[in-house]
């Protein structure tokens, strides 16, 4: 890869589950009901009244070994040389939805209106104009960031191993999350 892999960092310990990232993402991607390129999943555990909850806001992790890219029969996916962003080209997509099966993180989703898959492309158009991805500039808690993967993984608590989230060994996601204790794996 020519350039440096860029990546999301999400501090889930401060996620209030407000779903503004989901909506801002839908807004920029102009998708209707049924597609959420970024989604928040809520996990709960513990026993009443010592209950804990954690929310994981996740979009495409722009994996280093993307399952979608290998799985797609139509070669609609490319991983950009310049920044490692996994981009989906709706013009090549045949709408077979196989990527929605093979992605462990549910990033590609079928858009019934467009009859193709839609996926987070890290708002590359925004980035090219010197702006932040929609979710980053939307988050009322300011907990979603983008940066070089090299720096992201050095953040305090940065991990990709989250209880209830698929193991990263399969696709090597280029993302990192900070999670509360109950959500860490061991």
């Amino acid at each position: 890869m020519g350039g440096e892999q860029i990546a999301f960092f999400v501090d889930t310990t401060r996620c209030i589950n407000c779903r503004t990232c989901e909506v801002a993402c839908k807004d920029v991607n102009r998708v209707g009901v049924g597609v959420r390129p970024r989604r928040v999943r809520t996990y709960e555990g513990g026993d009443f009244p010592r209950v804990h909850v954690y929310n994981v806001s996740m979009s495409c992790n722009h994996c280093e070994d993307p399952a979608c890219l290998d799985g797609c029969p139509a070669r609609a996916y490319t991983k950009r040389e310049s920044d490692g962003v996994v981009v989906h080209d709706p013009d090549r997509c045949i709408g077979c939805r196989y990527c929605t099966w093979v992605c462990p993180y549910g990033a590609p989703q079928f858009d019934p209106a467009a009859r193709t898959v839609r996926k987070c492309n890290l708002c590359v158009d925004e980035l090219d104009q010197g702006r932040e991805p929609a979710c980053v500039s939307a988050c009322p808690m300011r907990i979603i960031e983008v940066g070089p993967l090299r720096e992201i993984v050095e953040r305090a608590g940065a991990t990709m191993r989250i209880r209830g989230v698929p193991d990263p060994s399969g696709t090597r996601p280029a993302s990192a999350y900070r999670v509360r204790e109950e959500a860490s794996h061991d």
């Binding site: 994981v56 797609c72 029969p73 090549r92 939805r97 099966w101 698929p166």
Partner: protein, 289 residues
């Protein structure tokens, strides 16, 4: 995900039709190898049936696509995509089935070679479908039972269908072979359905323990019914029917055998369709990221 479930039927039809066609081609080639006289008569009809099923299956798969007009692009990633390879294998199979039909119509000496080639292509197409489903991101599917289910469908549908076609001609060694294959196929249906159920329960319980939203739909009454129907129609019924036939040492008359074999073949097909529907439903139902 609800959308994926709504659009499952083309895949149910596609996989079942291809497996039925592959099974029939395999059964026909086996019968052909045994040089059954009854088979010679049935050959053109079977070749047409294989072509019809393979063609219909491939056609149905187009309905699965959001952009059917771009279907040709499905072959663009043969190097890495199991789906591309499945599509190619299916096309080869349909081509071989077409060749079989042509060969059987011309009555040439090559008919047997075409039959054998079609059988091989059919089994390859079935086998090429297995890696498509055995993906880590779909833990319910990513298990041996998918292989067992697909192989079982080929054996059951092939054996049951061809036995219904040739039963009336009293070709005992061929029937023995076909019904043995069908019985093994039915047993595999029971085993794979049970394993699928266990696998789903485990994954679903895990998701529920995480408190994930949408983890509600576990073993609903409707899903239990589907599973029961699959096991009854494509498992227990064929095993009992063929077992009874053997116990009775094939003493029933031809018409009765044909009627029974046809009924069992139809029931098996219905059971497998039901099971396949459930497979897609359960695979998409476990909450996951």
């Amino acid at each position: 995900m609800t959308d994926a479930r709504e659009r499952d039927w083309p895949l149910v039809a596609f996989t079942v039709a291809i497996q039925a066609a592959a099974g029939l081609a395999l059964a026909a080639a086996s019968a052909d190898a045994l040089a059954a006289p009854a088979m010679r008569e049935a050959e053109p009809r079977v070749a047409w049936l294989v072509l019809g099923l393979a063609g219909a299956g491939a056609g149905c798969s187009l309905f699965h696509l959001g952009r059917g007009l771009r279907a040709w692009r499905a072959l663009a990633n043969l190097r890495r995509s199991p789906l591309s390879r499945e599509v190619l294998a299916t096309i080869v199979f349909a081509g071989a089935a077409l060749g079989s039909v042509a060969a059987s119509m011309t009555g040439g000496a090559r008919a047997s070679s075409w039959t054998m080639a079609t059988a091989i292509a059919g089994v390859t197409a079935m086998a090429a479908a297995i890696p498509v489903y055995r993906v880590p991101a779909r833990p319910v599917w990513n298990a041996w039972w998918v292989t067992a289910s697909f192989v079982g469908s080929v054996l059951l549908l092939g054996g049951a269908t061809l036995s219904a076609i040739v039963a009336g001609h009293g070709a005992r060694p061929v029937l023995d072979l076909l019904l043995a294959a069908a019985t093994i196929g039915a047993a595999l249906q029971i085993l794979s359905a049970g394993a699928m159920a266990r696998r789903f329960s485990r994954e679903w319980r895990h998701a529920s323990s995480l408190g994930l939203e949408g983890s509600a739909m576990g073993w609903t009454a409707r899903r239990r019914l589907w599973l029961g129907l699959q096991i009854a129609l494509a498992g227990i019924l064929p095993v009992l029917a063929y077992g009874t036939w053997w116990v009775a040492c094939g003493r029933a008359d031809g018409a009765c055998v044909t009627a029974t074999a046809t009924t069992v073949a139809a029931a098996s097909l219905a059971g497998i369709v039901e099971g396949r529907r459930l497979m897609f439903d359960l695979g998409a139902s476990v909450p996951r990221f």
